[in-house]
Subunit: 228 residues, 2 copies
């Protein structure tokens, strides 16, 4: 190697916090560890980055491999890097964490070797001890998500390609954990530039007036923002 350092190299992994809405709750996909350390404990899906592989590619690959998910997340961003010297008792490992968001799926999890992968309401995991520093990573991911709903159109990543304003409001309510006034929310969403684009369709939930159907717009940031 054309490069020598006096320091031993590290292992580099990616961990993915994949969030979605299921059963009226913000849920995260977790795997159950089958080997030491933390055997039987819940962990975020993740694994080693390959020699020629880009970081975000590695995150997507691990998601597929460890959970059997065949569909792409609607959103993927780097969350942060966790590298405390003792975070993995086996060896010095630095993990690059990613935050991914998926619309609510009709199927349960739909995986091949996904026996070990399952959705868990984020609230239920607050008390439980997770593997490694995954509790901290999850907490950071949830806070990032809550914050990004304010300033970016991230909420649309929780929705299918077309959706109603009420669908979008439900995202905010479930992620923020509190109710949002329907009328004011409608005004804010439709006024914010390029947050959503109307279609000529309507949708009905059986009872009540049918709602207009929208598609995600091209905005990168929300102006004006939708504050918590």
């Amino acid at each position: 190697m054309a490069y020598t350092s006096e320091f031993p190299p590290f292992y580099v992994t990616v961990d993915v916090v994949l969030l979605t809405l299921r059963a009226d709750a913000l849920q995260v996909l977790m795997v159950r560890r089958g080997s030491k350390p933390y055997v039987g404990r819940l962990a975020l899906p993740g694994g080693f980055v390959r020699p020629q592989e880009d970081l975000p590619r590695a995150a997507l690959r691990e998601l597929r491999e460890e959970t059997g998910l065949k569909i792409q997340p609607r959103h993927l961003e780097q969350l942060g890097t966790y590298g405390a010297p003792r975070r993995d008792p086996r060896a010095r490992t630095v993990s690059v964490a990613y935050l991914a968001v998926l619309p609510e799926l009709p199927e349960p999890v739909a995986g091949t070797d996904a026996a070990a992968a399952a959705w868990h309401p984020v609230e239920d995991l607050g008390g439980r001890r997770l593997s490694f520093d995954h509790g901290q990573i999850l907490a950071d991911a949830v806070e990032r998500t809550r914050s990004k709903l304010e300033y970016t159109p991230l909420a649309t990543a929780f929705c299918p390609p077309t959706f109603t304003i009420a669908d979008l409001r439900r995202v905010y309510e479930l992620v923020w954990g509190r109710e949002v006034d329907a009328g004011n929310f409608h005004r804010k969403v439709t006024r914010a530039e390029d947050f959503v684009n109307g279609t000529d369709q309507t949708s009905t939930r059986g009872r009540g007036r049918p709602a207009a159907v929208y598609r995600a717009g091209g905005a990168v940031n929300l102006y004006p923002p939708i504050l918590r």
Copy 2:
């Protein structure tokens, strides 16, 4: 090692974007490379993380070692991790980038082995090609800084322990690159909760009415924010 992976380990480095205000400009501390690759090109200070060292510790140590700076930055946060497979032509290297902020220093740079370290106005580096992906890292750092001035009290990290509202306004003007109305700014800063705390001192710049002197308050976020 109690841990074997089928994949070769990576080199892990930290790179630090240290920003300050000097000569009425936002400036960044850069070192000049003395070896291949990118010999003679400007680079961010940085280097290998040590086996037992925490990531933020490594960032501070590299700052001291590579630049001879004896004082601690007033702000240090993780910016992001850059790990494209070819970013370092010698070997697969993943770099964790940090953003650090320092008040304007009376002394020039004050370093021991800091011969190679020097301040550069961020604007001057826009056109120049830097080493590795450091141009991208710098751009990300500057954008993060501009954005954080809106929602956090980061601007106080550019100031000495006590400062005037005009000092703070100068931070916003130099970082954002545009003028800010003095009257409106004064109202916003003093109204935002815990952004600044008054002292009983005043300060004069020779001509004009003396200004009240403030200290940084305890706020973590600015409410209401000071938008661009």
